[in-house]
């Protein structure tokens, strides 16, 4: 069980708000081809196993996982599908290698959300049919409730949340894989149309189509395949009760994120996350989520994230750069593929391949994904370019 595992290939495609020219198969084939070429030109016949993450309602196909093999080169190979965020898929791929069962495993996820007429309906079907759905609320009401309670408990401000949007969308301007880059002002965010107060239109990340394929390999294979492996040092995931009204820390907290991170840090032998993590790509589905998650991930104390943000700590030049890629607010929201987007951006930084957004001298990064409303599921991954 001491086998070390590295990311040896990264490929993505799409990353547009619509992708009418390509089917999901063709889009994923492009991402897979790029990933396998990135890993030194491996043919999928040499890949032992494949893990895909998807959610049937998003795709409009029940048992969507059966549609995985062709575009990944996985026909008649071991294929596993995870109904969850793609970081849970990555964790599963990692375990397949750690147990010694497989040596090279591809993991993938995609979003074709533009093919869905009303994403809100799918989100609403995720709420309990007996005691939430009959209230007939737009599903973003949950984000409004969470944000209100988080601001109340942490003494963070609405303006601090707005500054998350400003930072991430500005960062996105220099990331070619980000489509929501913009210079937005504090007023743009705080005066935007309210959705479910205090949450406004600008606090919500925009949808994105795209596919990501990431190839993992055991230490032995990784060192053969690539000169710049990115090691997966730790991973953890946790899920709270689905009951929106009886979570231990209420809707203001993100205990799932803390527990996921605790496990990932333990596995990565990280004692002091704030001192040992150089940068983070973490969930910012909604503006307040970045602050809430930063605190839960122990990047700072509870109630401190907003103030540190105002001081510039989380800027690309700050002590702990957060969502230098633009995050979901700046790059776009890829649904179950969000987690792999965060891992991809973290790994590119660690390889020194983040282009204009490249941070200097980074060795260890944290990727964290939340599964979105109404879930309380999070997965944390610690990555490093040092063995």
């Amino acid at each position: 069980m001491s086998k070390r595992v590295a990311i040896v290939g990264i490929g993505c495609s799409g990353f547009r708000t619509t992708s009418t020219d390509l089917s999901y198969r063709e889009m994923i084939f492009e991402a897979a081809t790029k990933c396998y070429e990135d890993a030194g030109g491996i043919h999928p016949q040499s890949i032992d196993s494949f893990v895909a993450s998807s959610e049937d309602f998003m795709e409009g196909i029940s048992i969507a996982d059966e549609y995985v093999p062709d575009q990944l080169g996985a026909v008649l190979k071991p294929v596993q599908s995870i109904a969850g965020d793609s970081l849970q898929g990555l964790a599963s791929a990692l375990m397949q290698i750690k147990t010694g069962q497989q040596s090279i495993v591809a993991t993938s996820a995609f979003s074709k959300v533009s093919n869905l007429s009303h994403y809100e309906k799918v989100a609403a079907y995720a709420t309990d049919p007996a005691y939430i759905r009959p209230l007939k609320e737009h599903p973003y009401f949950i984000a409004g409730l969470e944000m209100n309670r988080y601001l109340h408990e942490s003494f963070s401000t609405r303006e601090q949340c707005a500054r998350v949007v400003m930072k991430n969308r500005y960062n996105a301007l220099s990331n070619p894989r980000a489509v929501y880059g913009a210079k937005v002002t504090l007023e743009d965010v705080t005066c935007a149309e309210p959705v479910s107060e205090p949450l406004g239109q600008f606090d919500i990340s925009g949808h994105l189509d795209g596919a990501i394929v990431i190839l993992l390999a055991s230490e032995e294979k990784a060192l053969e395949m690539t000169a710049n492996p990115v090691w997966i040092k730790g991973v953890g995931w946790a899920t709270d009760t689905p009951n929106l009204d009886s979570r231990r820390e209420g809707l203001g907290g993100a205990l799932y994120a803390k527990l996921a991170a605790d496990k990932a840090y333990e596995m990565a032998n990280i004692k002091s996350p704030v001192n040992e993590i150089d940068f983070a790509e973490i969930d910012d589905t909604f503006s307040y989520k970045e602050l809430q998650h930063l605190e839960a991930l122990q990047m700072c104390g509870f109630g401190e994230a907003g103030k540190l943000l105002e001081m510039g700590c989380f800027e690309p030049g700050g002590d702990l750069p957060v969502n230098v890629s633009g995050g979901s607010l700046g790059a776009g929201y890829l649904h179950e593929a969000n987690g792999l987007q965060k891992v991809m951006e973290t790994a590119l930084q660690l390889r020194g391949e983040a282009g204009k957004n490249q941070l200097a001298g980074v060795e260890t990064g944290l990727a964290f994904a939340w599964r979105g409303i109404p879930t309380a599921t999070g997965t944390a991954v610690v990555l490093s370019n040092r063995l």
């Binding site: 089917s23 198969r25 063709e26 309602f57 062709d70 093919n115």
Partner: protein, 171 residues
């Protein structure tokens, strides 16, 4: 263990119990709308069906002529951009005589059964074909290996769909 479990008897629920509200249930129905991007390969396939033609793609490496057409060979894992027209005739690979509708209701007395079949299309590689339905044939006369031909809708009624072929009938 299992022999100790006794069937308790109990009182069966009737449909009427549920309908009359004796049993609490929560009802909702799903209402999602999707418009799937067909992409390069299937878009061309459907456009050709509208013209009354069946088109496939050929892999330059394994030489398979593939139906439905695809932009990449899933086995060789390389792009394919060689288009090949194939015939609208073929051979029944397998078929079934289906006595239930898609919603699981049984076909009525005197109603024709559904006749789904896999047709290996002439000109495509072995094992490559179209899943469709059979028509103008007595169910009991259908045989695996039987030659069949597409019966197309009139041109004005075609929409760019696999149903532009009404069915396949014995040649």
């Amino acid at each position: 263990m299992s022999e100790k479990i006794q069937v308790s008897g109990g009182t069966a629920l009737s449909e009427e119990d549920i309908r009359s509200g004796n049993i609490f249930v929560t009802e909702d129905s799903l209402d999602c709308a999707y418009a799937w991007d067909m992409g390069v390969a299937i878009k061309r396939y459907l456009a050709e069906l509208k013209e009354g033609r069946i088109i496939a793609t050929e892999c330059r490496k394994c030489k398979r002529i593939m139906l439905p057409p695809r932009l990449f060979c899933e086995l060789c894992f390389i792009p394919c951009n060689s288009w090949r027209y194939v015939k609208d005739t073929g051979t029944i690979n397998t078929f079934s005589i289906c006595h239930v509708h898609w919603d699981a209701s049984r076909i009525k007395e005197g109603e024709d059964p559904h006749l789904p079949a896999v047709i290996e299309i002439d000109g495509a590689s072995d094992g490559m074909g179209i899943m469709h339905i059979l028509g103008e044939v007595e169910p009991e006369k259908i045989k695996i290996g039987m030659k069949v031909k597409a019966v197309w809708k009139p041109k004005a009624k075609r929409t760019g769909s696999i149903t532009d072929i009404k069915y396949f009938k014995p040649l």
